[in-house]
């Protein structure tokens, strides 16, 4: 967040981390440590043990730093009047750092603060990319060259291998005399990877991609040096900006300056005046080299960030919002801001801008009025209630639109409290009231409100323990963002919000047009683009997609349902026999006294509905619980689970996570038995009870190992695997990775495994074990091993594709060799990405519609260097559909791209909890469901006796 703030101030992307408050504090810390250890050595006292204790103590001693003191708002005097040894720290951490220094100051021992160093510590950036990394790339290139010469025939495997070798910014050593200087090549010389399918009906579509036209211009790279050297980054910008007339268009990161034109001779040596102390600073601008504009894609992204600023959009995280076009929803005290996400990259079709419209939901209520409301409602227990409702929320400060997460509420402080601030080089106590009046012109009205505390921690380079620092926020000046759980469960509210956030394809496309028009009509933006020789196309990209053939479904009793374009069989699924019914002969229903009627109704409906589906259901054992306490569920469950019970049905009066978790833990881990938990409220509506009971019955059939429907699977011996991870939202618990593998030819039975790994980790360490186990299971059931293995891997970002290719795939390969030297199945590894910015619109009439399920796009807007495609597999009734992106990162099979796309779409039909297609292939959806259940409720390894059934549905 802070990095972005600084970026914004400097209109520049900066590759260096750690600036402002964090760095200030950290550097101060480091320095004091150094000082203390110096002392220890010079006095030759064994006091060195003080050093390690420093970092932990910092956590406790950091005092109220201040919100909103961005490095830009630090009074000039702080920076200028600092003498050699004194403080000059930019950023919010300044106060904390100073207090910390004070606390650690020993009589006689001088405390030295380092400047915040917003510029660049000269040594650090130089090391980037040298050494190992460079060597790695060199060896890569060598091997690539060797590989190319050996095999001219590009088959699938070679393409995937090649993809591993081409890197997004390949670094190579020029063969010249300058070993230290590297050339970054952002545009590749390799031809784009094009792998197209053939089947299906062609449809005309457009996507949210806009061609960028550029005149091939030179970019001039200069190095800017200051004398005396300036460490404060903002000052470096300010000093350079004094000579604005020389740089009409520039990109500057504090050291390196990129210009679209050559700098006149007289501009190479400039003199600026430090606005803080009026001293003269010489600026020496040295020409480094000329580069091509097309070599530097990152410049485009910087340019578009600046354009967003020209259009007066407010930046929140990575998106830009229009705060002036906010839509009020007064009945819910909400506000919706429309916004845009942009990214420039080179795709198969060329250089393009990806544009998507997005929304931010804000609450118009200030945190203070929320607190007051809570106090009124809760009375004496308000402290606890507020902590419950506020902690973990993100709030936005109204004066500078920054987001913070609330970590605690401090009622010992108020706006009247003071903190220490440097004024004219001297620490001065200043109250929050005065601070906001002086710096922002804001008069705080309520002087007795508690303060919100936001904690942040940063790791300083060379130190393993992160350091915490705290930011105080004034509730009156903070606005709540996002929706609470209460609000989310409010159907009317969500519907009202959805009318603004879930916009139709036509509205979305209109938003793109408007953006293009605004950019073209905005003078600053236009001249900015023109200055770099860029222009954007007036229309979004036009493409020809293909809609795959709808899939025929097979139900029991030889019923065949021809595929429909909307890929939905909700009506058919309850009318026909299921493909493979599991009769329920011995089962139990647990219910509380209160839900007696509900349990009775449910049973009656089950008896009426089971016949048409072809399932035989016998009378269950009815167990009435005295109350709805979790332990009474636990005790009775333990009692009723006997070795002849097939399934337990538990009716709960309300949805409560702890109770659900306890029930699932017993039924999935301790005393394994298929189980079905029903929220009594869902069964209370007499109009819906029939439909809901039918769905529950189908679900129970799956949990017992039955099959609901089938499709044609064109492989005789194949195993598909889905992998997904679940990360705990609070990041306190371990991550859960679920592994689901098919073990029959028609891909309706699934074998599942769960792996726990350290928190937040996405890439799986224990894959081998899972794969071996599922192959063994396949062997047991089928008597042979599968000839091909297709893996669908969810939840991997773009940046991790290559790591995945080099980490998980070798694990798989080793594992296959373990199974026997002869066994060499064809391995296909596909990464599934569903949270993407790409949108596809089908042309219909004069406007745009969501494309039908099964629409495939495999050219134009796909990645340049990967074998990838997009499929719209789901039908949405509201808003714009998001396609799913599939990247084939490894393929040693003979599957054509067309077959790969078709099998992927086929697998989207096999998720039994939904009578239609889902957005990801069924194994992924199952893995997601399992990982979620284990991560949220069970928290331990599910019983192996359930592993061959869909017990987690």
């Amino acid at each position: 967040m802070l990095t972005q703030k600084v970026n914004k101030a400097g209109e520049m992307a900066d590759p260096m981390r750690g600036r402002g408050r964090g760095l200030a504090l950290l550097q101060a810390l480091k320095k004091t440590q150094m000082v203390s250890s110096d002392e220890a050595t010079s006095e030759s006292s064994p006091d060195a043990s003080a050093t390690p204790s420093m970092a932990p103590s910092a956590i406790g001693t950091v005092s109220p730093s201040l919100l909103g003191t961005s490095s830009a708002s630090v009074p000039p005097s702080v920076c200028s009047s600092s003498t050699s040894g004194a403080t000059s720290i930019g950023g919010r951490g300044k106060m904390a750092a100073m207090l910390l220094a004070k606390a650690q100051q020993k009589p006689g021992g001088p405390v030295t603060f380092t400047p915040a160093g917003d510029g660049s510590p000269a040594a650090l950036p130089q090391m980037k990319g040298a050494g190992r990394g460079l060597k790695l790339l060199q060896s890569l290139q060598a091997s690539k060259a060797a590989g190319d010469s050996q095999s001219p025939k590009p088959d699938v495997q070679q393409i995937t291998e090649k993809m591993a070798e081409t890197s997004v910014s390949a670094t190579f050593k020029p063969p010249g005399d300058e070993p230290k200087r590297k050339l970054y090549r952002e545009v590749k010389d390799t031809p784009p990877v094009t792998r197209k399918g053939t089947s299906g009906t062609p449809v005309q579509v457009t996507a949210n991609y806009i061609y960028l036209n550029f005149e091939e211009n030179s970019v001039y790279e200069y190095e800017v040096r200051y004398d005396p050297d300036q460490d404060y980054r903002n000052l470096r910008f300010k000093l350079l900006a004094e000579h604005r007339q020389y740089f009409k268009e520039k990109t500057f990161d504090g050291t390196t300056l990129y210009l679209p034109h050559r700098l006149p001779e007289e501009a190479h040596n400039l003199v600026s005046t430090n606005p803080f102390d009026n001293s003269k600073v010489r600026i020496n601008i040295v020409f480094r080299r000329t580069r091509k504009l097309s070599e530097m894609i990152h410049i485009y992204n910087v340019i578009f960030k600046c354009i967003m600023k020209d259009l007066q959009l407010v930046r929140i995280n990575r998106d830009h919002f229009n705060d002036k076009a906010g839509i009020q929803i007064p009945q819910h005290k909400l506000e919706v801001w429309p916004g845009y996400v942009t990214a420039v990259d080179e795709y198969e079709g060329g250089l393009m801008l990806t544009l998507d419209s997005t929304h931010k939901v804000l609450r118009t209520q200030s945190v203070l009025s929320f607190i007051k409301e809570t106090v009124q409602a809760e009375g004496a227990g308000w402290k606890k209630a507020i902590a419950e409702r506020l902690v973990g929320c993100s709030v936005m400060t109204m004066y500078n639109k920054k987001m913070f997460r609330v970590d605690s509420i401090d009622d010992t402080q108020s706006p009247k409290s003071t903190f220490e601030k440097m004024v004219d080089g001297k620490p001065v106590q200043i109250s929050f009231i005065d601070y906001y009046k002086n710096n922002y012109g804001i008069q705080i009205k309520d002087w007795d409100q508690p303060l919100l505390i936001s904690r942040d921690s940063k790791r300083m380079p060379g130190q393993e323990k992160p350091t915490d620092f705290m930011i105080c926020l004034i509730p009156e000046l903070c606005q709540l963002t996002g929706l609470t759980d209460d609000q989310r469960s409010n159907f009317r509210l969500m519907k009202d919000v959805a009318t603004y956030t879930k916009i139709t394809p036509n509205q979305r496309h209109a938003a793109f047009k408007k953006y293009i028009e605004t950019v073209m009509s905005n003078e600053t933006a236009k001249s900015r683009l023109a200055g770099w020789g860029l222009s954007i196309a007036p229309e979004t990209i036009q493409l020809t997609a293909r809609t795959l053939q709808p899939e025929t479904l097979y139900f029991g009793n030889n019923v065949k349902i021809p595929g429909k374009p909307n890929a939905d069989w909700n009506g058919e699924v309850t009318r026909h026999h299921v493909m493979q019914a599991m009769d329920i002969m011995k089962w139990v229903i647990l219910y509380t006294d209160r839900d007696k009627q509900v349990a009775h109704d449910f049973l009656e409906t089950v008896k009426r509905s089971c016949r048409p589906m072809g399932i035989n259901v016998a009378d269950p054992q009815m167990v009435r619980l005295p109350n709805d306490r979790t332990d009474s569920y636990v005790i009775n469950l333990k009692k009723v689970i006997t070795s002849n019970i097939q399934i337990v049905v538990v009716i709960c009066p309300s949805a409560r996570d702890d109770r659900y978790g306890a029930i699932k833990k017993i039924c999935c881990a301790d005393n394994p038995v298929p189980s079905q938990v029903i929220n009594a409220r869902t069964l209370m509506n007499q109009n819906k009870i029939r439909a809901i009971t039918q769905k529950i019955l189908l679900q129970m059939n799956c949990k017992l190992g039955g099959t609901l429907w089938n499709i044609n699977i064109p492989f005789k011996s194949a195993m598909v695997i889905g992998i997904d991870s679940h990360h705990d939202a609070t990041r306190k618990k371990q991550s859960v990775c679920a592994f689901v593998a098919s073990f029959n030819q028609s891909m309706t039975h699934w074998y599942s495994r769960v792996v726990f790994q350290s928190k937040g980790q996405e890439i799986v360490d224990n894959l081998k074990d899972c794969l071996v186990e599922s192959l063994k299971h396949y062997l047991n059931v089928n008597g042979c091993l599968p000839e091909r293995i297709i893996i669908y891997r969810d939840g991997v970002g773009d940046g991790e594709l290559k790591i995945l290719q080099q980490y998980e795939i070798p694990q798989m390969k080793i594992c296959l060799s373990v199974l026997g030297g002869e066994y060499k199945p064809a391995l296909t590894y596909i990464v599934v990405q569903k949270r993407i910015n790409t949108r596809i619109f089908m042309k219909a009439g004069g406007g745009y519609e969501n494309p039908n399920p099964g629409t495939v796009v495999d050219h134009g807007v796909t990645r340049r260097d990967w074998y990838d495609f997009l499929i719209v597999s789901q039908k949405v009734n509201q808003g714009t559909v998001t396609p799913t992106h599939y990247v084939v990162i490894h393929d040693s099979s003979d599957m054509t791209p067309d077959q790969c796309q078709r099998i992927t779409y086929k697998l989207c039909h096999l998720y039994f909890n939904w009578p239609g297609t889902v957005r990801v292939p069924a194994p992924c959806q199952y893995a997601h469901k399992l990982a979620y259940l284990v991560g949220n409720s069970i928290h331990s390894q599910p019983a192996s006796s359930l592993a061959d059934k869909l017990f987690f549905l």
């Binding site: 190992r132 921690s457 019970i645 301790d670 492989f715 029959n744 890439i763 224990n766 599957m895």
Partner: protein
Amino acid sequence: MNDDEFATCPYNVSHRVPRSRLQHHLVKCQKSNPGLWICPFNATHRCPEHLKQNHYNTCPDRPIEIPLPKAKEAQNGTIGAITKPKPLLQKDYLPEDDPDCEYWD
């Protein structure tokens, strides 16, 4: 990201990386270093060939050896009547001479 511990790279003890970045680091480090044996239970565990047996026996991620899975679960508590799913073949619902039946291999 801030609360993860640091781990030592098995290829070079002077490499200390946050645990969450260890996998990324290993991918890089294994290229410039002689091949170490990769533990089958956890791919971040690497050791030289001569120590492999030792690690294999003591690996903390090694699944607890269960001689008879059912016997173990019976100790913990009763289990339900769990049936194995019945195999179902495509030819049962879609004969190979059906025009909709398609095989790619």
